[in-house]
Amino acid sequence: MKRKRFKIIIPILFILLVASIIMYLCWGTYKVSPFDSIKTLLGQGTKLQNAAILNLRLPRMLVGISVGIALSTAGALLQTITKNELADSGIIGINAGAAVAAVIFVSLKTVNYYSTLGPLSVYVLPFMAIIGAGISATIIYLLSSRNGVKPKRLLLIGLGLNAGLNAFITFFTFRGGIGDYNRVLIWTSGSLWGAGWNYAKVIIPLVTLMFMIVLLNYKKLDALNLSDEHAISLGLNLNKERKKFLSYAVILAGGATAFAGNVGFIGLISPHIARKLVGPYHKNFLWVSAIISIVIVLFADAVSRNLFSPIEIPVGITISIFGVPYFIYLMMKEK
């Protein structure tokens, strides 16, 4: 039954994925027909099409895809570790920790609003963000471990930390004056504004590598889903594994936040939908969750770019407007 369902779901997801990619490349102030966009990708576009697609939309799309994969995988890991379907790196302050580090780093490295990061700084930025995410994850982990880490406590402490860190980001970025408001928005709500090839070339290898590592560990993740006693009897060192996967989640969430800011709820929604579609076994579930998150990010970002063009809405905001009602629905349903 499940296997049969899986066979239907995969092609549908694949079609959705291709459709959203083509839609993303075509839709914009400068419209390109789907056929032309494929031709451009194959290197036969006009000069204008090359500029729009190859230089602007393609890199931004790739960054968006990486961010989606990273956050959904981080969310899936956190949900497995905490055994709580409502966990997400954005809600519990890991993204905010990364954003704080990134904000500090960026404001130290750039002088004024429109200056961009230097070539070396682009490589250092994700490391700083990952360190920030790591610090905040460590704080959450240490504070919530009293007689063992309790999932609810972890969630609560994460929520508190998140509130505090966001206050800090707002303060830090506002110091600069009124013109910095867009920057605050990017960090606090997540945006793909200005994502170009210089971001893409850093985040793609990072996310690909981490995603592969997580995928290779699917059996251990499945074991973590069992009760603690079962997992131990299978020979799993629970604390070690939890810490390991938590650090993977930190790297993924930190890397994503470094380039797109604090995008919330995507890490919550996509694993949840995926679990409903293909069940909790990580081998299939991680893939499906990643594809769903890509589709969501691409649609949300296309809407954010174009719906009110030329005004752009941060993609994180679009996602949270649709994500929050879903989240509250989930909570109401859960016993």
Partner: protein
Amino acid sequence: MKQNNKNTITFIVCSIFVLIIGVFLAISLGVTHIGISEIWNSIFNYSETLESMLIRDMRIPRALSVLLTGGILGVTGAMIQGVTRNPIAEPSLLGVSQGATLVIAIFYAVGITINTTNVMIASLIGATFSGIIVMGFTSRKSNNRSIAKILLAGTAMSTFFISLTTIIGLLSNKSQFIAFWVSGGFRNATWADFNLVAIVGILGLIIAIFLSEKINILSLGDDVAISLGQNPERIRLITFLVMIPMCAAAVAVGKNIAFVGLIVPQIVRKIFGEDYRKNIPFSFLLGAILLTYSDIAARMVYSPYETPIGIFTALIGVPFFIVVARRERG
């Protein structure tokens, strides 16, 4: 019992003393420091010097607005913690304040004049709307009322309202003004603001004190309340109805200030136990103290610029939050 009364009196005397010093410091300290005699003269002998005008039209209304807003925040925190039996509940962590901000942003975007009355109307509409939603998910069957869940729902709600506020700001091209209004704190507090928080705050405090006996019963749990012949849903509804205009006034005058409503009732409960007849008035007092000193810090730390007051309340509030959260089991 006698010992208890003595403690209470000591507490009241000490906090009023600390509060008076705070207000005095708030009036005196600033970019221009003003001495006692100057303050005395400008209040009691009407003089037209620059300093006395500064005191009369800027410092005093601001100091008093801060004081009353702090009191309001403390009381609303105590009330919501009592009726939801949730030690971490607080209007701005549950999204009520953000709902109020959203409607204020809509007023901004539409181009309605921003003055105290209009802001209060907007804030009241928003707080009512979001307050009803919060009431919805706190007063359902008790299995849905775990602390973590209410807080998660609140965080989600505030994110939602902030997102909508941002979109409205971006589309109307007023996002920077709205953001500056929100982070402005008490920068532009006037006598009109003072009147607003004074009326709402004092009325609210009196009604809250009258309600405190019922809140006491409700804080023992719905079952106990029912067995004592009370209707828990009704008490909760009335408490929310009193709380919503208080939250609205606090947002209209002080913008979004989180954590005061969380910290203050916690401390008061530590000292006096779970008796809301005392907790509510003392939360007012302690909230006033906390916010008065936070505002002094907000003005002085980065002088001559102002730091958003919410930073200071968050700085004290987050550790508090974590300590309380750590007590959570499960």
